[in-house]
């Protein structure tokens, strides 16, 4: 398969302001009052280069959407969907424009933050020495279990605080459990309130760091996690 493939990164209002984007071979397609950002998709490569190739492409996709979202409301597309031709991408835009326009409107002025909580075990909290005598081993194991239970409770308290903060501000939020069972919050916030929210979350992070709970705040970026919700709200 040697034909060029094209990837759609996102759509925005046709008249929305947009700073010049530095991306090789970027095309802007217009239909149905929307503008779609389209560029060549990464081509297949041998396995060692394959992952780097995709990683670079994914980061470029994200960087482009972040750059656009600074000025305008952009509806982000899932990475990894391609079209065999620009015409195919344009036709898809034309067909789906009414639905996508509603989603752009529903997410107007909104950005996304991510807040992830962790309670990492310290270096002295590893498994007890298996060569220790029975009583010493049991004692160390019980102590470790107690510390872990205490950290888990602390993590839940911190998560409760973040949830309360989000609720207090009347923000839309998705609470998830990450890969390793740690709580994660995806928070939808208006541009005007983004700086204030970050400040509050960072204050929480400082407070909980003293208790051994790490609160990582990331964003803002385009509302990746809320595109489906926007559709449902309008349905």
């Amino acid at each position: 398969m040697t034909r060029a493939r094209w990837m759609m990164h996102g759509v925005l209002d046709a008249d929305a302001p947009c700073s010049p984007i530095l991306a090789p071979r970027l095309r802007q397609l217009r239909a149905g009052g929307l503008r779609a950002l389209v560029s060549p998709a990464p081509l297949p490569a041998a396995p060692p280069a394959q992952r780097d190739n995709l990683e670079r492409a994914a980061l470029a996709h994200h960087a482009m959407l972040c750059a656009v979202s600074r000025d305008s409301d952009v509806l982000p597309f899932r990475f990894g969907q391609g079209f065999l031709s620009v015409t195919g991408a344009w036709k898809t835009l034309e067909v789906h424009a009414p639905s996508w326009r509603r989603r752009v409107a529903a997410l107007s002025g909104k950005l996304e933050f991510c807040c992830r909580l962790e309670a990492p075990l310290g270096p002295t909290e590893d498994d007890p020495n298996p060569t220790a005598t029975g009583r010493a081993y049991l004692s160390a194991a019980l102590e470790r279990r107690s510390r872990r239970a205490s950290k888990a409770a602390m993590l839940q308290d911190a998560a409760g605080n973040v949830a309360a903060l989000v609720e207090q501000r009347g923000l839309h939020c998705r609470q998830l459990t990450g890969e390793s069972g740690v709580p994660r919050f995806d928070i939808l916030v208006g541009r005007a309130g983004a700086r204030d929210l970050r400040h509050q979350l960072e204050q929480e992070a400082t407070r909980w760091a003293a208790h051994g709970v790490a609160l990582h705040v990331a964003g803002p970026w385009p509302p990746y996690s809320f595109t489906a919700i926007a559709e449902h709200a309008h349905a």
Binding site: R51, G80, G82, L84, H216, P220, T227
Partner: protein, 84 residues
């Protein structure tokens, strides 16, 4: 997957690459795309069933010279559901 730290915006602190990729691959609008680009150990590019079905249908119709006969039947290419 590498544990690279990635800067999001000028103001934002770095985020783990795995978290970011998880977001990019599982969230966002799903278009009715022709091609799905795989990740990691899966195949890199997979042509969607819709495209394959459309090609097979056209080829079959051409070879048999049966376009007229099949025109009234349901065409697999008309399936508009998004395929991954």
């Amino acid at each position: 997957m590498r544990e690279t730290q990635v800067g999001m915006t000028d103001e934002a602190p770095p985020e783990r690459l795995v978290d970011l990729l998880d977001r990019l691959l599982h969230h966002g609008v799903v278009a009715e795309a022709d091609v799905s680009i795989g990740i990691a150990d899966t195949e890199l590019v997979r042509i969607s069933l819709r495209a394959v079905a459309a090609t097979a249908f056209k080829l079959s119709a051409r070879l048999d010279g049966a376009e007229q006969r099949m025109a009234g039947n349901t065409c697999p290419a008309s399936d508009s559901r998004p395929l991954r």
